[in-house]
Protein backbone atom coordinates (compact mmCIF):
# COMPACT_ATOMS: atom_id res chain seq x y z
CA UNK A 1 0.00 0.00 0.00
CA UNK A 2 2.81 2.36 0.88
CA UNK A 3 4.57 2.29 -2.50
CA UNK A 4 3.98 0.20 -5.60
CA UNK A 5 7.37 -1.34 -5.06
CA UNK A 6 9.16 -4.30 -6.50
CA UNK A 7 7.53 -6.84 -4.31
CA UNK A 8 4.13 -6.05 -5.82
CA UNK A 9 5.51 -6.76 -9.25
CA UNK A 10 6.92 -10.16 -8.34
CA UNK A 11 3.61 -12.03 -8.63
CA UNK A 12 2.94 -10.36 -11.98
CA UNK A 13 6.35 -11.29 -13.31
CA UNK A 14 5.80 -14.84 -12.14
CA UNK A 15 2.38 -14.84 -13.79
CA UNK A 16 3.67 -13.56 -17.12
CA UNK A 17 6.56 -16.01 -17.18
CA UNK A 18 4.29 -18.92 -16.31
CA UNK A 19 1.61 -18.05 -18.87
CA UNK A 20 4.22 -17.23 -21.51
CA UNK A 21 6.27 -20.35 -21.11
CA UNK A 22 3.18 -22.54 -20.98
CA UNK A 23 1.99 -20.91 -24.18
CA UNK A 24 5.27 -21.56 -25.93
CA UNK A 25 5.92 -25.09 -24.73
CA UNK A 26 2.50 -26.65 -24.88
CA UNK A 27 1.72 -28.09 -28.29
CA UNK A 28 -1.48 -30.04 -27.77
CA UNK A 29 -4.69 -28.24 -28.83
CA UNK A 30 -6.65 -30.03 -26.13
CA UNK A 31 -4.33 -28.63 -23.46
CA UNK A 32 -4.65 -25.19 -24.95
CA UNK A 33 -8.39 -25.44 -24.69
CA UNK A 34 -8.12 -26.38 -21.02
CA UNK A 35 -5.61 -23.62 -20.31
CA UNK A 36 -7.85 -21.09 -22.04
CA UNK A 37 -10.77 -22.42 -20.03
CA UNK A 38 -8.78 -21.77 -16.85
CA UNK A 39 -8.31 -18.20 -18.02
CA UNK A 40 -12.03 -17.77 -18.68
CA UNK A 41 -12.86 -19.21 -15.28
CA UNK A 42 -10.22 -16.99 -13.69
CA UNK A 43 -11.89 -13.97 -15.25
CA UNK A 44 -15.24 -15.08 -13.85
CA UNK A 45 -13.79 -15.83 -10.42
CA UNK A 46 -12.09 -12.45 -10.39
CA UNK A 47 -15.37 -10.74 -11.27
CA UNK A 48 -17.24 -12.62 -8.57
CA UNK A 49 -14.45 -12.03 -6.06
CA UNK A 50 -14.78 -8.26 -6.44
CA UNK A 51 -18.41 -8.59 -5.52
CA UNK A 52 -18.21 -11.39 -2.97
CA UNK A 53 -14.70 -11.38 -1.54
CA UNK A 54 -14.27 -7.63 -1.33
CA UNK A 55 -17.72 -6.05 -1.12
CA UNK A 56 -19.16 -9.05 0.75
CA UNK A 57 -22.23 -9.44 -1.48
CA UNK A 58 -22.89 -13.02 -2.46
CA UNK A 59 -24.20 -13.91 -5.91
CA UNK A 60 -25.49 -17.39 -6.63
CA UNK A 61 -26.52 -16.45 -10.13
CA UNK A 62 -23.39 -15.17 -11.75
CA UNK A 63 -23.50 -17.69 -14.58
CA UNK A 64 -26.42 -15.58 -15.87
CA UNK A 65 -24.11 -12.69 -16.77
CA UNK A 66 -21.56 -15.11 -18.23
CA UNK A 67 -24.41 -16.46 -20.37
CA UNK A 68 -25.75 -13.07 -21.36
CA UNK A 69 -22.28 -12.14 -22.60
CA UNK A 70 -21.99 -15.37 -24.56
CA UNK A 71 -25.48 -15.32 -26.07
CA UNK A 72 -25.48 -11.60 -26.87
CA UNK A 73 -22.18 -11.85 -28.68
CA UNK A 74 -23.18 -15.09 -30.44
CA UNK A 75 -26.47 -13.65 -31.61
CA UNK A 76 -25.06 -10.39 -32.88
CA UNK A 77 -22.15 -11.97 -34.70
CA UNK A 78 -23.74 -15.17 -36.03
CA UNK A 79 -27.24 -13.99 -36.80
CA UNK A 80 -26.74 -10.32 -37.58
CA UNK A 81 -23.26 -10.58 -39.06
CA UNK A 82 -21.75 -8.03 -36.71
CA UNK A 83 -18.02 -8.24 -36.16
CA UNK A 84 -17.41 -10.05 -32.85
CA UNK A 85 -15.28 -7.09 -31.77
CA UNK A 86 -18.32 -4.86 -32.14
CA UNK A 87 -20.52 -7.48 -30.53
CA UNK A 88 -18.30 -7.45 -27.43
CA UNK A 89 -19.18 -3.93 -26.22
CA UNK A 90 -22.86 -4.69 -26.94
CA UNK A 91 -22.63 -7.87 -24.87
CA UNK A 92 -20.96 -5.98 -22.03
CA UNK A 93 -23.61 -3.31 -22.22
CA UNK A 94 -26.40 -5.90 -22.17
CA UNK A 95 -24.99 -7.65 -19.10
CA UNK A 96 -24.38 -4.31 -17.40
CA UNK A 97 -27.94 -3.16 -18.03
CA UNK A 98 -29.45 -6.40 -16.78
CA UNK A 99 -27.24 -6.17 -13.68
CA UNK A 100 -28.35 -2.60 -13.12
CA UNK A 101 -32.03 -3.44 -13.37
CA UNK A 102 -31.96 -6.59 -11.24
CA UNK A 103 -29.25 -5.30 -8.87
CA UNK A 104 -31.18 -2.23 -7.82
CA UNK A 105 -33.90 -4.11 -5.90
CA UNK A 106 -31.81 -7.22 -5.14
CA UNK A 107 -28.89 -5.49 -3.44
CA UNK A 108 -31.24 -4.10 -0.83
CA UNK A 109 -31.17 -7.66 0.46
CA UNK A 110 -28.26 -9.10 2.35
CA UNK A 111 -26.92 -12.42 3.56
CA UNK A 112 -29.08 -15.46 2.78
CA UNK A 113 -31.74 -13.30 1.19
CA UNK A 114 -29.32 -11.83 -1.30
CA UNK A 115 -28.18 -15.38 -2.05
CA UNK A 116 -31.78 -16.40 -2.75
CA UNK A 117 -32.43 -13.31 -4.84
CA UNK A 118 -29.42 -13.82 -7.07
CA UNK A 119 -30.19 -17.52 -7.29
CA UNK A 120 -33.58 -16.54 -8.72
CA UNK A 121 -31.97 -14.30 -11.31
CA UNK A 122 -29.67 -17.09 -12.41
CA UNK A 123 -32.61 -19.46 -12.82
CA UNK A 124 -34.75 -17.00 -14.73
CA UNK A 125 -31.96 -16.22 -17.18
CA UNK A 126 -31.23 -19.93 -17.60
CA UNK A 127 -34.88 -20.63 -18.41
CA UNK A 128 -34.90 -17.79 -20.93
CA UNK A 129 -31.86 -19.32 -22.66
CA UNK A 130 -33.53 -22.73 -22.76
CA UNK A 131 -37.10 -21.81 -23.68
CA UNK A 132 -36.71 -18.87 -26.02
CA UNK A 133 -35.77 -21.27 -28.82
CA UNK A 134 -36.39 -18.91 -31.74
CA UNK A 135 -33.59 -16.65 -30.51
CA UNK A 136 -31.26 -18.78 -28.42
CA UNK A 137 -31.66 -22.13 -30.12
CA UNK A 138 -33.25 -23.59 -27.02
CA UNK A 139 -31.95 -26.61 -25.18
CA UNK A 140 -30.04 -27.91 -28.18
CA UNK A 141 -27.89 -24.82 -28.18
CA UNK A 142 -26.66 -22.11 -30.50
CA UNK A 143 -24.32 -23.21 -33.29
CA UNK A 144 -22.15 -21.48 -35.84
CA UNK A 145 -20.59 -18.76 -33.71
CA UNK A 146 -17.79 -17.24 -35.80
CA UNK A 147 -14.25 -17.45 -34.46
CA UNK A 148 -12.41 -14.28 -33.62
CA UNK A 149 -10.28 -12.61 -36.27
CA UNK A 150 -7.67 -9.94 -36.19
CA UNK A 151 -7.36 -7.57 -39.12
CA UNK A 152 -9.47 -9.61 -41.49
CA UNK A 153 -7.93 -13.03 -40.87
CA UNK A 154 -9.25 -15.54 -38.41
CA UNK A 155 -7.28 -16.22 -35.26
CA UNK A 156 -7.04 -19.78 -36.33
CA UNK A 157 -4.71 -21.41 -33.90
CA UNK A 158 -5.55 -22.23 -30.35
CA UNK A 159 -2.24 -20.80 -29.23
CA UNK A 160 -3.14 -17.20 -30.15
CA UNK A 161 -6.51 -17.64 -28.55
CA UNK A 162 -4.83 -18.83 -25.39
CA UNK A 163 -2.65 -15.71 -25.34
CA UNK A 164 -5.67 -13.51 -26.02
CA UNK A 165 -7.58 -15.00 -23.08
CA UNK A 166 -4.68 -14.63 -20.70
CA UNK A 167 -3.95 -11.08 -21.83
CA UNK A 168 -7.52 -10.24 -20.84
CA UNK A 169 -7.00 -11.99 -17.51
CA UNK A 170 -3.83 -9.99 -16.91
CA UNK A 171 -5.71 -6.79 -17.67
CA UNK A 172 -8.48 -7.78 -15.29
CA UNK A 173 -5.95 -8.67 -12.59
CA UNK A 174 -4.21 -5.30 -12.82
CA UNK A 175 -7.53 -3.48 -12.93
CA UNK A 176 -8.89 -5.34 -9.92
CA UNK A 177 -5.76 -4.78 -7.90
CA UNK A 178 -5.75 -1.07 -8.67
CA UNK A 179 -9.38 -0.85 -7.75
CA UNK A 180 -8.94 -2.68 -4.46
CA UNK A 181 -6.04 -0.51 -3.39
CA UNK A 182 -7.96 2.68 -4.05
CA UNK A 183 -10.47 4.76 -2.18
CA UNK A 184 -13.30 2.81 -3.80
CA UNK A 185 -11.68 -0.51 -2.91
CA UNK A 186 -11.31 0.42 0.73
CA UNK A 187 -14.92 1.56 0.78
CA UNK A 188 -16.03 -1.79 -0.69
CA UNK A 189 -14.05 -3.71 1.90
CA UNK A 190 -15.52 -1.55 4.65
CA UNK A 191 -19.01 -2.49 3.44
CA UNK A 192 -17.98 -6.12 3.81
CA UNK A 193 -16.94 -5.57 7.43
CA UNK A 194 -19.89 -3.48 8.56
CA UNK A 195 -22.40 -1.92 6.25
CA UNK A 196 -23.89 0.18 9.05
CA UNK A 197 -20.52 1.64 9.98
CA UNK A 198 -19.68 2.24 6.33
CA UNK A 199 -22.85 4.24 5.96
CA UNK A 200 -22.06 6.15 9.14
CA UNK A 201 -18.66 7.28 7.85
CA UNK A 202 -20.30 8.67 4.74
CA UNK A 203 -20.10 5.90 2.17
CA UNK A 204 -23.14 5.72 -0.13
CA UNK A 205 -23.29 1.95 0.30
CA UNK A 206 -26.27 1.14 -1.97
CA UNK A 207 -24.74 3.01 -4.86
CA UNK A 208 -21.33 1.45 -4.44
CA UNK A 209 -22.77 -2.06 -4.15
CA UNK A 210 -24.74 -1.55 -7.34
CA UNK A 211 -21.68 -0.21 -9.15
CA UNK A 212 -19.52 -3.17 -8.22
CA UNK A 213 -22.34 -5.56 -9.12
CA UNK A 214 -22.56 -4.04 -12.59
CA UNK A 215 -18.78 -4.12 -12.96
CA UNK A 216 -18.74 -7.76 -11.97
CA UNK A 217 -21.49 -8.56 -14.47
CA UNK A 218 -19.66 -6.77 -17.27
CA UNK A 219 -16.45 -8.69 -16.54
CA UNK A 220 -18.43 -11.93 -16.58
CA UNK A 221 -19.89 -10.96 -19.95
CA UNK A 222 -16.36 -10.61 -21.33
CA UNK A 223 -15.68 -14.15 -20.15
CA UNK A 224 -18.87 -15.27 -21.92
CA UNK A 225 -17.71 -13.58 -25.11
CA UNK A 226 -14.33 -15.34 -24.94
CA UNK A 227 -16.00 -18.67 -24.30
CA UNK A 228 -18.56 -18.40 -27.10
CA UNK A 229 -16.04 -17.51 -29.79
CA UNK A 230 -13.54 -20.10 -28.63
CA UNK A 231 -15.92 -23.03 -28.63
CA UNK A 232 -18.21 -21.89 -31.42
CA UNK A 233 -21.22 -23.50 -29.79
CA UNK A 234 -23.11 -22.61 -26.62
CA UNK A 235 -25.99 -24.25 -24.81
CA UNK A 236 -27.93 -23.28 -21.68
CA UNK A 237 -26.21 -25.94 -19.54
CA UNK A 238 -22.95 -24.01 -19.66
CA UNK A 239 -24.68 -21.22 -17.75
CA UNK A 240 -26.77 -23.20 -15.30
CA UNK A 241 -27.08 -22.97 -11.53
CA UNK A 242 -24.32 -25.56 -11.10
CA UNK A 243 -21.91 -23.26 -12.89
CA UNK A 244 -22.85 -20.36 -10.58
CA UNK A 245 -22.11 -22.58 -7.61
CA UNK A 246 -18.81 -23.64 -9.14
CA UNK A 247 -17.83 -20.01 -9.50
CA UNK A 248 -18.61 -19.38 -5.85
CA UNK A 249 -16.53 -22.44 -4.97
CA UNK A 250 -13.59 -21.12 -6.99
CA UNK A 251 -13.68 -17.86 -5.05
CA UNK A 252 -14.02 -19.55 -1.68
CA UNK A 253 -11.39 -22.23 -2.30
CA UNK A 254 -8.93 -19.81 -3.83
CA UNK A 255 -9.50 -17.33 -1.06
CA UNK A 256 -12.03 -14.56 -0.66
CA UNK A 257 -10.68 -11.05 -1.03
CA UNK A 258 -7.58 -12.17 -2.87
CA UNK A 259 -7.15 -11.61 -6.58
CA UNK A 260 -4.47 -14.28 -6.90
CA UNK A 261 -6.75 -16.60 -4.99
CA UNK A 262 -9.38 -16.25 -7.69
CA UNK A 263 -6.78 -17.38 -10.18
CA UNK A 264 -5.71 -20.30 -8.06
CA UNK A 265 -9.29 -21.38 -7.37
CA UNK A 266 -10.17 -21.21 -11.06
CA UNK A 267 -7.12 -23.24 -12.03
CA UNK A 268 -7.74 -25.85 -9.36
CA UNK A 269 -11.43 -26.33 -10.10
CA UNK A 270 -10.90 -26.44 -13.86
CA UNK A 271 -8.04 -28.92 -13.65
CA UNK A 272 -9.42 -31.17 -10.93
CA UNK A 273 -12.13 -32.83 -13.07
CA UNK A 274 -9.54 -33.47 -15.79
CA UNK A 275 -7.15 -35.08 -13.35
CA UNK A 276 -9.87 -36.95 -11.52
CA UNK A 277 -11.03 -38.80 -14.64
CA UNK A 278 -8.66 -41.50 -13.39
CA UNK A 279 -11.03 -42.14 -10.48
CA UNK A 280 -13.87 -42.92 -12.89
CA UNK A 281 -17.12 -43.23 -10.96
CA UNK A 282 -15.50 -41.95 -7.76
CA UNK A 283 -14.60 -38.67 -9.46
CA UNK A 284 -17.21 -36.58 -7.65
CA UNK A 285 -16.44 -38.21 -4.32
CA UNK A 286 -12.76 -37.32 -4.53
CA UNK A 287 -13.66 -33.87 -5.81
CA UNK A 288 -15.92 -33.26 -2.82
CA UNK A 289 -13.32 -34.60 -0.40
CA UNK A 290 -10.67 -32.22 -1.71
CA UNK A 291 -12.99 -29.25 -1.34
CA UNK A 292 -13.89 -30.29 2.19
CA UNK A 293 -10.27 -30.71 3.18
CA UNK A 294 -9.35 -27.25 1.97
CA UNK A 295 -12.28 -25.70 3.82
CA UNK A 296 -11.52 -27.51 7.06
CA UNK A 297 -7.81 -26.71 7.19
CA UNK A 298 -7.75 -23.38 5.37
CA UNK A 299 -11.18 -21.84 5.92
CA UNK A 300 -9.90 -18.57 4.49
CA UNK A 301 -9.07 -20.33 1.24
CA UNK A 302 -5.72 -21.30 -0.18
CA UNK A 303 -4.04 -17.93 -0.74
CA UNK A 304 -5.50 -16.12 2.25
CA UNK A 305 -4.67 -18.97 4.54
CA UNK A 306 -1.05 -18.99 3.45
CA UNK A 307 -0.74 -15.21 3.27
CA UNK A 308 -2.25 -14.72 6.71
CA UNK A 309 0.31 -17.02 8.25
CA UNK A 310 3.05 -15.12 6.42
CA UNK A 311 1.71 -11.69 7.47
CA UNK A 312 1.37 -12.79 11.08
CA UNK A 313 4.94 -14.02 11.13
CA UNK A 314 6.18 -10.79 9.63
CA UNK A 315 4.31 -8.61 12.10
CA UNK A 316 5.55 -10.69 14.98
CA UNK A 317 9.13 -10.24 13.89
CA UNK A 318 8.52 -6.51 13.35
CA UNK A 319 7.13 -6.22 16.87
CA UNK A 320 10.09 -8.09 18.24
CA UNK A 321 12.44 -5.78 16.38
CA UNK A 322 10.78 -2.55 17.45
CA UNK A 323 12.28 -2.07 20.96
CA UNK A 324 15.72 -2.27 19.40
CA UNK A 325 15.38 0.92 17.35
Amino acid sequence: MVRPSLHNLVPYAFFVVLVGSAGLWVDNPYYFQILSMIGIHALLALALNLLMGYAGQISLGHAAFYGIGAYASALLSARYGLSPWLALPCAMLAAGLVALVVGYPTLKLSGYYLGMGTLGIGMIVFIVFREWSSVTGGASGFVGIPPLGLGGRALLDVRSYYFLVWAVVLLALCGSQRLIRSRVGRALRSIHDSEAAARAVGIPTSRLKLQVFVLSAVMSAVAGFLYAHMVGFISPDTFSFIVSVKLVTMVVIGGMASIWGALLGAALLTLLPEVLHAFAEFEMVVYGLILMTVMIFLPQGLTRGILDIYALRRRQSERAARPAD
Binding site: M1, R178, S182, R183, V184, S190, D193, A197, V201, Q211
Partner: protein
Protein backbone atom coordinates in the same frame (compact mmCIF):
# COMPACT_ATOMS: atom_id res chain seq x y z
CA UNK B 1 -20.16 23.79 3.15
CA UNK B 2 -17.12 22.89 1.06
CA UNK B 3 -13.64 22.30 2.33
CA UNK B 4 -11.97 22.06 -1.05
CA UNK B 5 -9.73 25.07 -0.44
CA UNK B 6 -8.31 23.62 2.74
CA UNK B 7 -5.08 21.73 2.94
CA UNK B 8 -6.22 18.10 3.23
CA UNK B 9 -3.46 17.34 5.72
CA UNK B 10 -4.12 20.32 7.90
CA UNK B 11 -6.49 20.60 10.79
CA UNK B 12 -10.17 20.46 9.96
CA UNK B 13 -11.99 23.51 8.81
CA UNK B 14 -12.98 25.88 11.54
CA UNK B 15 -16.64 26.74 11.67
CA UNK B 16 -17.27 29.69 9.46
CA UNK B 17 -20.25 31.06 11.32
CA UNK B 18 -19.90 33.48 14.20
CA UNK B 19 -18.09 31.94 17.18
CA UNK B 20 -20.45 31.10 19.97
CA UNK B 21 -23.48 30.99 17.67
CA UNK B 22 -25.41 27.71 17.57
CA UNK B 23 -23.99 25.14 15.18
CA UNK B 24 -26.77 22.72 16.00
CA UNK B 25 -30.24 23.63 17.13
CA UNK B 26 -33.04 21.25 18.02
CA UNK B 27 -36.58 22.57 17.97
CA UNK B 28 -39.25 20.37 19.53
CA UNK B 29 -37.80 17.14 18.21
CA UNK B 30 -39.92 14.00 18.76
CA UNK B 31 -39.57 10.38 17.80
CA UNK B 32 -41.91 7.43 18.35
CA UNK B 33 -41.13 3.77 17.87
CA UNK B 34 -44.27 1.66 17.50
CA UNK B 35 -46.24 3.58 20.07
CA UNK B 36 -43.33 4.17 22.44
CA UNK B 37 -42.43 7.82 22.71
CA UNK B 38 -38.63 7.67 22.62
CA UNK B 39 -38.16 11.42 22.44
CA UNK B 40 -40.66 14.11 23.23
CA UNK B 41 -40.35 17.76 22.32
CA UNK B 42 -36.61 18.13 22.78
CA UNK B 43 -35.16 21.59 22.25
CA UNK B 44 -31.65 22.85 22.87
CA UNK B 45 -28.77 24.54 21.13
CA UNK B 46 -25.18 23.50 20.77
CA UNK B 47 -23.01 26.62 20.46
CA UNK B 48 -20.21 26.40 17.95
CA UNK B 49 -16.85 25.37 19.38
CA UNK B 50 -18.16 23.90 22.63
CA UNK B 51 -18.47 20.49 24.19
CA UNK B 52 -22.09 19.71 24.95
CA UNK B 53 -22.81 16.79 27.26
CA UNK B 54 -25.91 14.65 26.92
CA UNK B 55 -26.63 12.59 30.00
CA UNK B 56 -29.51 10.64 31.44
CA UNK B 57 -30.37 7.23 32.83
CA UNK B 58 -30.49 4.21 30.52
CA UNK B 59 -33.41 4.40 28.13
CA UNK B 60 -33.55 8.18 28.34
CA UNK B 61 -33.27 8.48 24.55
CA UNK B 62 -29.69 9.67 24.20
CA UNK B 63 -28.71 7.22 21.49
CA UNK B 64 -32.02 7.80 19.69
CA UNK B 65 -31.21 11.49 19.63
CA UNK B 66 -27.77 10.69 18.18
CA UNK B 67 -29.37 8.53 15.53
CA UNK B 68 -31.69 11.39 14.57
CA UNK B 69 -28.86 13.92 14.33
CA UNK B 70 -26.67 11.56 12.33
CA UNK B 71 -29.48 10.72 9.92
CA UNK B 72 -30.08 7.08 10.80
CA UNK B 73 -33.72 7.89 11.60
CA UNK B 74 -35.84 10.86 10.60
CA UNK B 75 -37.61 12.74 13.41
CA UNK B 76 -41.41 12.46 13.59
CA UNK B 77 -41.79 16.03 14.66
CA UNK B 78 -39.74 19.16 15.18
CA UNK B 79 -36.70 20.42 13.35
CA UNK B 80 -32.98 19.73 13.54
CA UNK B 81 -31.14 22.80 12.34
CA UNK B 82 -27.47 22.47 11.48
CA UNK B 83 -25.76 25.69 10.48
CA UNK B 84 -29.23 27.13 10.00
CA UNK B 85 -30.68 24.47 7.66
CA UNK B 86 -33.10 21.71 8.58
CA UNK B 87 -31.29 18.39 8.20
CA UNK B 88 -34.04 16.13 9.55
CA UNK B 89 -34.26 13.02 7.35
CA UNK B 90 -31.19 13.82 5.25
CA UNK B 91 -29.27 10.59 4.47
CA UNK B 92 -26.25 9.84 6.65
CA UNK B 93 -23.64 9.96 3.92
CA UNK B 94 -24.72 13.45 2.98
CA UNK B 95 -24.61 14.57 6.60
CA UNK B 96 -21.04 13.30 6.90
CA UNK B 97 -20.18 15.32 3.82
CA UNK B 98 -21.86 18.30 5.48
CA UNK B 99 -19.58 17.87 8.49
CA UNK B 100 -21.35 15.66 11.04
CA UNK B 101 -19.31 12.63 12.13
CA UNK B 102 -19.99 10.13 14.88
CA UNK B 103 -18.64 7.19 16.85
CA UNK B 104 -20.62 4.27 18.22
CA UNK B 105 -21.36 3.03 21.71
CA UNK B 106 -20.13 -0.43 20.66
CA UNK B 107 -17.08 0.38 18.58
CA UNK B 108 -17.86 -0.18 14.88
CA UNK B 109 -14.53 -0.50 13.10
CA UNK B 110 -13.71 -2.21 9.82
CA UNK B 111 -11.89 -5.06 11.44
CA UNK B 112 -10.20 -6.57 8.40
CA UNK B 113 -8.76 -3.19 7.42
CA UNK B 114 -5.61 -1.83 9.03
CA UNK B 115 -5.75 1.13 11.39
CA UNK B 116 -4.49 3.45 8.66
CA UNK B 117 -7.02 2.10 6.16
CA UNK B 118 -9.83 2.68 8.62
CA UNK B 119 -8.82 6.33 8.87
CA UNK B 120 -8.53 6.52 5.09
CA UNK B 121 -12.07 5.20 4.74
CA UNK B 122 -13.03 8.00 7.10
CA UNK B 123 -11.80 10.46 4.48
CA UNK B 124 -14.20 9.06 1.88
CA UNK B 125 -16.37 12.16 1.72
CA UNK B 126 -13.35 14.46 1.38
CA UNK B 127 -11.79 12.56 -1.51
CA UNK B 128 -13.15 11.80 -4.94
CA UNK B 129 -11.18 9.15 -6.81
CA UNK B 130 -13.79 6.79 -8.35
CA UNK B 131 -13.62 3.59 -10.39
CA UNK B 132 -12.02 5.23 -13.42
CA UNK B 133 -9.57 7.15 -11.30
CA UNK B 134 -8.52 3.93 -9.59
CA UNK B 135 -7.92 2.17 -12.92
CA UNK B 136 -6.16 4.96 -14.75
CA UNK B 137 -4.28 6.13 -11.66
CA UNK B 138 -3.48 9.52 -13.12
CA UNK B 139 -1.42 12.17 -11.35
CA UNK B 140 -4.50 13.55 -9.59
CA UNK B 141 -5.49 10.16 -8.20
CA UNK B 142 -1.93 9.44 -7.08
CA UNK B 143 -1.64 12.77 -5.33
CA UNK B 144 -4.97 12.24 -3.60
CA UNK B 145 -3.86 8.79 -2.44
CA UNK B 146 -0.58 10.16 -1.08
CA UNK B 147 -2.35 13.02 0.70
CA UNK B 148 -4.84 10.58 2.08
CA UNK B 149 -2.10 8.37 3.51
CA UNK B 150 -0.32 11.36 5.00
CA UNK B 151 -3.52 12.61 6.58
CA UNK B 152 -4.26 9.17 7.99
CA UNK B 153 -0.81 9.04 9.56
CA UNK B 154 -1.39 12.47 11.07
CA UNK B 155 -4.75 11.54 12.57
CA UNK B 156 -3.29 8.36 14.01
CA UNK B 157 -0.53 10.42 15.60
CA UNK B 158 -3.13 12.87 16.89
CA UNK B 159 -4.96 10.17 18.84
CA UNK B 160 -1.70 8.49 19.87
CA UNK B 161 -1.74 5.44 17.59
CA UNK B 162 1.14 6.42 15.30
CA UNK B 163 2.85 3.05 15.71
CA UNK B 164 -0.19 0.97 14.79
CA UNK B 165 -0.83 2.14 11.22
CA UNK B 166 -0.41 -1.33 9.74
CA UNK B 167 -2.14 -3.33 12.45
CA UNK B 168 -5.52 -4.78 11.49
CA UNK B 169 -7.95 -2.78 13.57
CA UNK B 170 -9.62 -5.90 14.95
CA UNK B 171 -6.37 -6.86 16.65
CA UNK B 172 -6.00 -3.61 18.58
CA UNK B 173 -6.80 -3.54 22.30
CA UNK B 174 -10.29 -2.23 22.99
CA UNK B 175 -9.22 1.15 24.33
CA UNK B 176 -7.18 1.79 21.22
CA UNK B 177 -10.08 0.75 19.03
CA UNK B 178 -12.06 3.59 20.62
CA UNK B 179 -9.29 6.04 19.81
CA UNK B 180 -9.08 4.70 16.27
CA UNK B 181 -12.80 5.19 15.81
CA UNK B 182 -12.40 8.80 16.89
CA UNK B 183 -9.51 9.22 14.43
CA UNK B 184 -11.69 7.76 11.68
CA UNK B 185 -14.48 10.19 12.51
CA UNK B 186 -12.06 13.13 12.59
CA UNK B 187 -10.67 12.13 9.20
CA UNK B 188 -13.95 13.20 7.62
CA UNK B 189 -13.05 16.66 8.95
CA UNK B 190 -16.30 17.29 10.76
CA UNK B 191 -17.55 20.50 12.28
CA UNK B 192 -19.73 18.54 14.67
CA UNK B 193 -18.52 15.33 16.29
CA UNK B 194 -20.97 13.03 18.05
CA UNK B 195 -19.30 10.77 20.61
CA UNK B 196 -21.52 7.97 21.93
CA UNK B 197 -20.17 6.81 25.29
CA UNK B 198 -16.51 7.01 24.30
CA UNK B 199 -15.32 6.08 27.81
CA UNK B 200 -17.34 2.87 28.09
CA UNK B 201 -14.96 -0.02 28.69
CA UNK B 202 -11.94 2.21 29.29
CA UNK B 203 -9.87 2.13 32.48
CA UNK B 204 -9.20 5.22 34.59
CA UNK B 205 -5.95 6.16 32.85
CA UNK B 206 -7.47 5.72 29.39
CA UNK B 207 -10.48 7.80 30.42
CA UNK B 208 -8.23 10.60 31.54
CA UNK B 209 -6.39 10.50 28.21
CA UNK B 210 -9.73 10.54 26.44
CA UNK B 211 -10.71 13.67 28.38
CA UNK B 212 -7.56 15.44 27.21
CA UNK B 213 -8.18 14.28 23.65
CA UNK B 214 -11.73 15.65 23.69
CA UNK B 215 -10.47 19.05 24.82
CA UNK B 216 -7.78 18.97 22.13
CA UNK B 217 -10.42 18.23 19.51
CA UNK B 218 -12.43 21.18 20.76
CA UNK B 219 -9.24 23.22 20.55
CA UNK B 220 -9.24 22.50 16.81
CA UNK B 221 -12.57 24.24 16.51
CA UNK B 222 -14.72 21.13 16.36
CA UNK B 223 -18.00 21.19 18.22
CA UNK B 224 -18.68 18.07 20.24
CA UNK B 225 -21.86 16.44 21.43
CA UNK B 226 -20.99 13.84 24.03
CA UNK B 227 -23.13 11.07 25.49
CA UNK B 228 -21.38 9.67 28.51
CA UNK B 229 -22.10 7.76 31.70
CA UNK B 230 -18.76 8.55 33.30
CA UNK B 231 -19.78 11.59 35.37
CA UNK B 232 -16.33 12.84 36.30
CA UNK B 233 -15.32 12.87 32.63
CA UNK B 234 -18.56 14.58 31.62
CA UNK B 235 -18.27 17.24 34.31
CA UNK B 236 -14.64 17.85 33.42
CA UNK B 237 -14.86 18.32 29.66
CA UNK B 238 -18.36 19.66 29.00
CA UNK B 239 -19.11 23.33 28.67
CA UNK B 240 -22.83 22.67 29.02
CA UNK B 241 -24.94 19.63 29.74
CA UNK B 242 -28.43 18.57 28.72
CA UNK B 243 -30.15 15.95 30.86
CA UNK B 244 -32.69 13.60 29.30
CA UNK B 245 -35.04 11.37 31.23
CA UNK B 246 -37.57 9.04 29.62
CA UNK B 247 -37.45 10.89 26.34
CA UNK B 248 -37.88 14.33 27.80
CA UNK B 249 -35.49 17.13 28.49
CA UNK B 250 -35.14 17.38 32.24
CA UNK B 251 -32.55 20.09 32.67
CA UNK B 252 -29.85 22.07 30.95
CA UNK B 253 -26.95 24.05 32.31
CA UNK B 254 -23.30 24.20 33.18
CA UNK B 255 -21.79 21.13 34.87
CA UNK B 256 -21.98 22.92 38.22
CA UNK B 257 -25.65 23.74 37.77
CA UNK B 258 -26.43 20.18 36.75
CA UNK B 259 -24.57 18.69 39.71
CA UNK B 260 -26.82 20.58 42.12
CA UNK B 261 -30.06 20.26 40.16
CA UNK B 262 -32.70 18.53 42.22
CA UNK B 263 -34.63 17.00 39.33
CA UNK B 264 -31.47 15.49 37.96
CA UNK B 265 -30.51 13.94 41.26
CA UNK B 266 -33.94 12.40 41.75
CA UNK B 267 -33.96 11.07 38.18
CA UNK B 268 -30.65 9.38 38.75
CA UNK B 269 -30.96 8.29 42.34
CA UNK B 270 -34.70 8.18 42.97
CA UNK B 271 -36.95 10.85 44.52
CA UNK B 272 -36.12 9.93 48.11
CA UNK B 273 -32.50 10.79 47.62
CA UNK B 274 -33.40 13.90 45.72
CA UNK B 275 -35.29 15.49 48.57
CA UNK B 276 -32.57 15.73 51.24
CA UNK B 277 -30.03 16.90 48.73
CA UNK B 278 -32.31 19.80 47.96
CA UNK B 279 -31.69 21.03 51.46
CA UNK B 280 -28.02 20.33 51.08
CA UNK B 281 -27.86 22.37 47.94
CA UNK B 282 -29.40 25.32 49.65
Amino acid sequence: MRFADDNPNGPPARPTDSPGGPLLRLEGVSKTFGGVQALKDISFEVPSGTVMGLIGPNGAGKTTLFNLISGIFAPDGGRILYGGTDIGGRPTHRLVADGIARTFQNVELFESLTAAENVMVGQYVRTRCGFWGAWLRGPGARREERDSQAAAAEWLRFVGLAGEARTPSGELPFGWQRLLEIARALASRPRLLLLDEPAAGLNAVETEQLGRLILEIRGRGITILLVEHDMSLTMEVCDRIVVLDRGEKLAEGTPREIQTNVDVLSAYLGPDVGAPSRQQAR
